[in-house]
Each structure stands twice: as C-alpha cells, then as structure tokens.
C-alpha cells in the first residue's frame, strides 16, 4: 500500500502554465510587456515590467513602438492583452496632472547624464516652457545645451517625463520626437496659451516682467501669467531685463541657475 502511494506521488508531474515564464521575467524586469491604451489623442503604446513603465509612444500601429522600444530599451518585449487596470489609471493620472506622482518609471538603461536631465525636468510645472539652456544651467553644466537636447530626444518615457516642456532659447517649442505639433498639443492641453506664446516668439520677446515688483520670468511661468496685462513689460534678453533694473524670478529662475 505504501509503495503504491509513493509510486503515485512520484508520477504527479504536470506542466507549468504557459504564461509562467513570461510573467516571471516581466516581474523581475528581465523582459517587458507591451500593450496599447487609449488616451486623449488616440492610442498610446506602453511597455512595462516590475520596475515600472519602461517606454511610451503615441501611434496607431505597434511596429514603430516595437522599433522604438528596441532602440531605447533593448530588452525583449512581449505583447500583453492589455495594460493592467491599475497601471492604466496611474498613467492617465500622470498625463492629466502632468506629474509622475506614484507612477514608477524604469530608467535602468539610462546613463547618469541623461538621468540627471530627466530628473531635472520633472520639476517643470505643467503648462510651462523652459529652454534647453535652462536645463543645462540648472544641472551645473551650462555648456551641455546640445547634450541636453539629445538626452531629451532619447527620453524613453516622453509625455510622462515632460520633455515637451523644454524648448529652444528663443522661446519656441523646438523639436519633438513625435513632431512639434504633438508637443504644442501637449502644452496646450496643460493650459499654455500657444497663440500668445507664438506672438512673443515672433516679436523676439523671451521674458516677461512686472512693473510692480521689477521681477522678470519666462512668459509661461505661473507668476508671469498672473501679471495684469497693463503691468507687463517684455524683454528680449537677460541683459535687457537686468539693464532695466529687473531681477530674475525665484520660481521659474529664467537665468538658469537654481536660487
């Protein structure tokens, strides 16, 4: 009887469910899952693993996303049925609030310089536009303006980490991985008045000051936007502002270096 039992026990072998290896490897972050989700502007492709969201891109088809994931992340990526509900909620929240909040992003493949850039720009409030030079200055690397631009272009999680809030020094939005139109759309979604901004750029105005407190800001700074139209004064450069006796705003720090 006992040997009958042990014989039966020894034959209790069964295959593990097929999804096992995939789920295990995704949870450890050895590979990623990807799936589409809908957002305000159509379809957003998202990849993720146990460390967080690893890559994001808008678009209709999966192929460009897979190529993008291969270039920026390089791990194997497996199609999932859908973005898990909780993750989808967190991503939607991040997009609507303009801040990462509790959403985790997987930046393991990102080098120290790019990581520094991506961390710096997370402090730019939604609906505000800074410049590549500002980011470089803020990082204490004032000459690395071009490197900042290329680091932002290689941002694996655009929209979530707001590289769309950084433009060129003339105050325009500059280039974007998904086209300047998308960049303008994202900023407009966040409440930036693009028409007014275009007007300033066309006139060569880069900064806005208030005659009341003689402080100057980026025109998109929350403080600048609260200046009454009759009290506004526009400047084409830092020098012009400081020659007029204006000092830089401590909120948007238009001169670049942190106060």
């Amino acid at each position: 009887m006992t040997s009958l039992i042990t014989n039966q026990l020894e034959n209790l072998q069964t295959d593990a469910p097929p999804a096992t290896i995939e789920r295990v490897l995704v949870s450890t972050g050895v590979i990623d899952y990807f799936a589409p989700m809908s957002w305000k502007h159509g379809t957003l492709w998202v990849s993720w693993n146990g460390h967080g969201v690893s890559c994001v891109a808008p678009g209709d088809d999966p192929e460009p996303f897979i190529d993008r994931h291969a270039a920026k992340v390089g791990r194997h990526v497996a199609r999932s049925r859908g973005v898990p509900l909780r993750l989808r909620d967190l991503i939607s929240q991040t997009i609507s609030s303009g801040r990462l909040g509790t959403l985790r992003v997987d930046l393991r493949g990102v080098g120290p310089f790019q990581l520094d850039v991506l961390t710096t720009i997370q402090d730019i409030p939604p609906g505000e536009l800074r410049t590549y030079a500002w980011v470089a200055e803020h990082m204490g690397r004032p000459r690395a303006v071009r490197a900042v631009g290329s680091a932002l272009n290689r941002n694996p999680v655009p929209i979530l980490i707001p590289c769309h809030r950084v433009g060129t020094s003339d105050g325009s939005v500059g280039n974007y991985a998904f086209g300047a139109t998308m960049k303008r759309t994202l900023l407009a979604d966040e409440g930036l008045d693009m028409q007014t901004l275009d007007g300033y750029v066309a006139a060569g105005f880069r900064f806005m000051g208030s005659v009341n407190n003689t402080v100057y800001c980026f025109p998109s700074c929350v403080r600048a936007r609260s200046i009454h139209p009759t009290n506004r004064v526009m400047f084409k450069s830092h020098d012009a502002a400081s020659d007029a006796g204006y000092r830089p705003c401590t909120v948007c720090t238009p001169h670049g270096s942190p106060s």
């Binding site: 039992i5 295990v24 693993n49």
Partner: protein, 181 residues
C-alpha cells in the same frame, strides 16, 4: 550553449539576466507540480510559483558571482518554495501576490488551467496532513529530494524528517483504506 541543471549556477554567476530564463525553464515543471500539492488550487500554485521565481531573482541580484556559482540551485529553490507556501497558508483570504503588485493582475483568459484531476485529488488528501508531514512527503516523493537536502530545507534533523515522512504516508494510507472500505 543552453545551461543544464549542472551548469545553471555557473551561468547565473556569469550573466544573471541571460541565465535566469533558463532557470525558469529548467525548474518550472518540477516546482509547479510540487507546489500544486501544497496549495489549495491550480491558480494558487501558479501565483505561488511566480512569487518563488521572483524572490529567487531578487536574492540572486543581491549576491556576488562567487555566491551564485556555488549555489545548490534545486534545494535553494525548494527552500523558497516551502517558505512561500507556508506564508500563503498563514495569510487568510486572497491578497495580491508580489508579482501582481509589480505587473498587475493576470487576465483570467490568459491561462486556461488544464484540470489534472489526479493532482487535485492528491492535493486534497495532502492538505489533511500536518504542515511538516506534508512538506516532507512532497519534497521526498513528489519532488524526489534526498533526506539530507530536505532536512536542510525545512531546518529539522534528518531523523525528524524521516519520522515526518513516515507519519505522512501512514496518514495517507489510512485515508485511502477508509475510502476503499
């Protein structure tokens, strides 16, 4: 070259992320079968096994190459597995697993469990055993580990493990005899 059970420890030491998928492939059938006899259902077994591999990976990342290379992979995996089964039995009710917390709840249509009635029956019978007896019987006879390996896994003397197995089998025999009477 694809690592085998004999070379997997060295492979994990050389390149963890390359070797880890092979670790899963090598041990998932054995782990799933054994775990299935220690937890109430097929889906519990699936969740538990995923957590075991996740914990294994997390430990490995914290270790140096030497420690990984000298690892006795099989008993080590079973140590994690028995602890995970025990902890799951202790926590009442359905809580999200580590894997679910990290990557989300599984789509129920994703894996259609194929019922293995024989396994289900044995899992029910084994559930009637005390935890030490069940663990020892499963590790010895379902998994096929040696007594000294089991003793190390459950941290009990070899003599005690033998007694656990004996008691477990005796209980199973009684149960089967009662049914056949």
């Amino acid at each position: 070259m694809t690592p085998t059970r004999n070379t997997i420890a060295q492979a994990l030491a050389t390149d963890l992320d390359r070797a880890f998928p092979h670790l899963v492939t090598l041990y998932q059938r054995e782990l799933f079968s054994g775990i299935r006899t220690m937890v109430p259902s097929h889906s519990d077994a699936e969740d538990t096994m995923q957590d075991v591999f996740l914990k294994a990976y997390q430990s490995l990342t914290g270790w140096g190459n030497e420690r990984r290379a000298s690892l006795s992979v099989r008993p080590w995996l079973w140590m994690i597995a028995t602890n995970t089964c025990r902890n799951r039995a202790r926590t009442k009710g359905r809580r999200p697993t580590e894997v679910e917390l990290l990557i989300g709840v599984q789509d129920p249509t994703e894996s259609q469990p194929e019922p293995n009635l024989e396994l289900d029956e044995w899992a029910d019978r084994l559930a009637a055993l005390t935890m030490p007896a069940r663990t020892a019987v499963v590790l010895r006879h379902v998994v096929g580990l040696r007594i000294d390996e089991i003793a190390e896994i459950v941290k009990r003397p070899e003599g005690t493990v033998k007694a656990d197995i004996h008691r477990g089998l005796k209980k199973l025999r009684t149960m089967l005899e009662e049914v056949s009477l």
